[in-house]
């Protein structure tokens, strides 16, 4: 699908970059004139995907996280968060509400929030090779 605009970012999988990723997505999405509610939903979903990469993808090193944003026809914002980490053995299990391998520091609600706040969510993962989370949300035109 032809993108009307796009950006690609790459940063180390460090927790301090979660806020940067949210701010970058909010700035890029602003050209679609989202409501504050839409922007809040998008920032929350991005935060969950990036945090998953930071917390789970690289247990023994600081790897990289790629963030790709595209504006597609009909005011659809597509967000791709990709890592080259350990991957997820069972994506279906990982997407179940309250499932986490992160102990009591994690709530296991990350994928549930991404699913609830975005129109579409796709998770592709290969153990040992990494995980790609693709999500999209159509921004409603305001009359």
């Amino acid at each position: 699908m032809n993108a009307q605009n796009y950006i690609k970012l790459e940063f180390p999988a460090r927790s301090v970059n979660e806020g940067f990723a949210r701010a970058a997505v909010a700035a890029f999405a602003s050209q679609l004139d989202p409501t504050l509610g839409e922007l809040g939903d998008i920032k929350t979903a991005v935060s969950e995907a990036v945090t998953n990469a930071v917390v789970h993808a690289y247990p023994d090193k600081i790897g990289t996280v790629q963030l790709r944003l595209r504006i597609l026809p009909d005011a659809v914002l597509e967000i791709v968060v990709k890592d080259h980490g350990v991957g997820i053995a069972d994506v279906t299990q990982a997407r179940a509400p309250l499932y986490t391998t992160g102990g009591e520091e994690r709530s296991g609600m990350g994928f549930t929030i991404m699913e609830s706040f975005m129109d579409k969510l796709r998770v592709k993962s290969v153990p040992g090779r990494g995980t790609t989370v693709t999500m999209s949300r159509r921004i409603r035109r305001r009359g």
Binding site: G19, G37, T44, V55, I113, F117
Partner: protein, 111 residues
């Protein structure tokens, strides 16, 4: 992330300010734990009105704080979540587990 605490008559209020994400969660939890240990409250209010953002890392903080306070016989409630925070609390089903005050209460008044 900034935390402010106030204690009076058995009630501890902890006000969280800023963005509560994974990078800030440990600091927020430490502040709540230290305040709960210092004051041994009967009731604790987490005032969320100063949060500009919260994701599921905040849910984990709230659930852990709730467990901690229950263990010492205290109760936890949440106060004045902004809209984005309220959405996250709702999706996580937290309103069924921890009371949420939409407005400032007279008793145990947040800072």
């Amino acid at each position: 992330m900034q935390t402010l605490k106030q204690y009076a008559d058995g009630c501890l209020t902890v006000r969280l300010r800023g963005e509560l994400d994974h990078s800030a969660a440990a600091e927020a939890m430490r502040a709540i734990e230290e305040a709960a240990e210092e004051y041994l409250p009967r009731q604790c209010v987490l005032d969320l009105s100063g949060l500009s953002f919260m994701d599921s890392s905040g849910i984990a903080v709230i659930l852990k704080a709730d467990r901690l306070l229950r263990q010492s016989g205290a109760s936890l409630s949440l106060s004045q979540p902004p809209e984005q925070v309220r959405r996250v609390l709702e999706i996580a089903g937290l309103s069924q587990m921890v009371p949420i005050q939409a407005r400032k209460e007279k008793e145990c008044e947040p800072i």
